[in-house]
Amino acid sequence: MHSLNPNSNEPRWGDVDLTDDCKNQCLQYLLNELEPDQITLFEEKLCNSERVADELQRQAEMIVKLSEVAAVSEASAKDGTPITVPHVHRRSQNFVVKAVWIALAVCIGGLAFRTWWSTTKPSQEQEAANDNLAGLLIENDATTATVSEFTLIARAWAASQMEKDRSELADSTPTGTDVQFINTLGDELEWHQEEAEGNSEEAFSWMFTAAIEIHEVETNDG
C-alpha cells in the first residue's frame, strides 16, 4: 500500500527491501509469537521502515480475513461438521443442489396440476354452455334440443308468474295479493336457492332462461 503521507516519498533509514526473515518476523509479531526483546527490536524497525509497516499491514489484513473464514467454519462446526474450509464450500454446494431439486419438483408439480386442470375445466364449461344453448333452443321452438331439468322448471315458473302478473294488473286493485305475490316469489326463490346451492352456474343458467322467457312474453304482448 502506498503511504497517504505526501512527504513519504523521501528515502528513509532502513527503507530497503525486506528479507524473508523480516517478513517472518512480521508474521510472528502479528500472531504474538515473538519474545519481549524481539518485540522491542521489531517495533523499532517498524518505526523506521515504511516497508515493514506495509508488509505488516498486508499480513494483518490477510490474517483477519482468514480468521473471518474461520468464524464461519466454527459456526458450521457447532452444527456437527468438522472445521475444514473446503468442507464448508462443499456444504454450500450441497445446499444449492438441494434447492435446485426442490425448485424443479415444484415446477413439475405445478405443470402437472395445470395440465389436469385444463383438461377438467372445459367439460364443466361445456355443460354450462349446453344449458344456455338449451334455453335458446326452446326460445326458438326447437324440440330436439337437450334440455336440462332446471331449464324446464324455469320456463314453467316464468309462465306462471307472468300469468299471475297479468291478472293482477287487470284487477288493478292494490290489495293483499301484492304481499301474497311477494311471499310466493320469496318462497320460490328460497326453493331455487336451496336447489342451486351446489352449483352456482346452474342457478345462473336458470335465472337467465327465466329472464328471457319473461322478456319474450312481454314482447309478444306489446
Binding site: 517472518n24 505488516l56 473464514v69 474450509v85
Partner: protein
C-alpha cells in the same frame, strides 16, 4: 514468549466471562500500543492524529474485539489502525468536509452492498484457500483454525520452524494475489 502471551492461553479464553474478556482485550492493547504507535507514525504526520487514532482503535477493540478470533486479534488491531489512519486522511479532504457539512458522520456505514461484497470476498477466499498446495493449507489450518504456535506446528509436522513460517507467509501472499485479481 511469556506464558500469558501463548496462543494456548488465547484458546482457553473462549470460555471467559465478559469482564475477563474486557481485561484481556485491554491487556492486548497495552502490549500492542507501542507497535501501533510506531506503525501509525508511518501514516500520520502529527502526534495528535496518532493519539486520536489510537483512541478510536481502543474504543473499537472494546466494542467489537470480543468477536475476533484470539489468534487474529493483534492483526485486527493493525487493520483497524490502518483503516482509521486512512479515514483521518480522508477527513482532511474537501470532499469529506462537504460530506460532513451535509450531516454525515464520517463513520463508514455497513450498507447491504458492502455486506454483500464482504460475503463475496469471503467466498472467494475460501475458494482460493482450497487451491493452495496441501502443505500450505495444512499450516494455515493449524495456525489460524487450530491456534497452534509455529513451533508446535513444526514439531508436529517434523519440519524446521523457518519452513513453517515461510509456507504460512507464502500462503498469505498467494491469497492476497488471488483476491486482488
Amino acid at each position: 514468549m511469556t506464558p500469558d502471551q501463548s496462543p494456548q492461553n488465547d484458546r482457553d479464553s473462549t470460555a471467559e466471562t465478559a469482564d475477563e474478556g474486557i481485561a484481556r482485550r485491554r491487556m492486548v492493547f497495552e502490549e500492542t500500543e507501542c507497535g501501533l504507535r510506531a506503525f501509525l507514525s508511518k501514516r500520520l504526520p502529527q502526534d495528535s492524529d496518532i493519539d486520536d487514532c489510537l483512541q478510536v482503535v481502543f474504543v473499537k477493540l472494546m466494542e467489537k474485539g470480543g468477536s475476533v478470533t484470539p489468534a487474529a486479534l493483534r492483526s485486527w488491531l493493525y487493520r483497524v489502525a490502518s483503516n482509521e489512519s486512512a479515514r483521518l486522511w480522508r477527513s482532511k479532504a474537501a470532499l469529506e468536509k462537504m460530506y460532513q457539512k451535509h450531516g454525515g458522520t464520517g463513520i463508514p456505514i455497513l450498507d447491504p452492498t458492502t455486506v454483500a461484497m464482504q460475503a463475496e470476498a469471503t467466498e472467494q477466499l475460501k475458494i482460493a484457500l482450497k487451491e493452495l498446495p496441501e502443505s500450505w493449507q495444512q499450516i494455515v489450518s493449524l495456525r489460524i483454525y487450530e491456534n497452534l504456535t509455529f513451533q508446535q506446528i513444526a514439531d508436529q509436522l517434523g519440519i524446521p520452524l523457518g519452513t513453517a513460517l515461510t509456507r504460512m507467509r507464502r500462503a498469505l501472499e498467494r491469497l492476497k494475489n488471488d483476491l486482488s485479481q
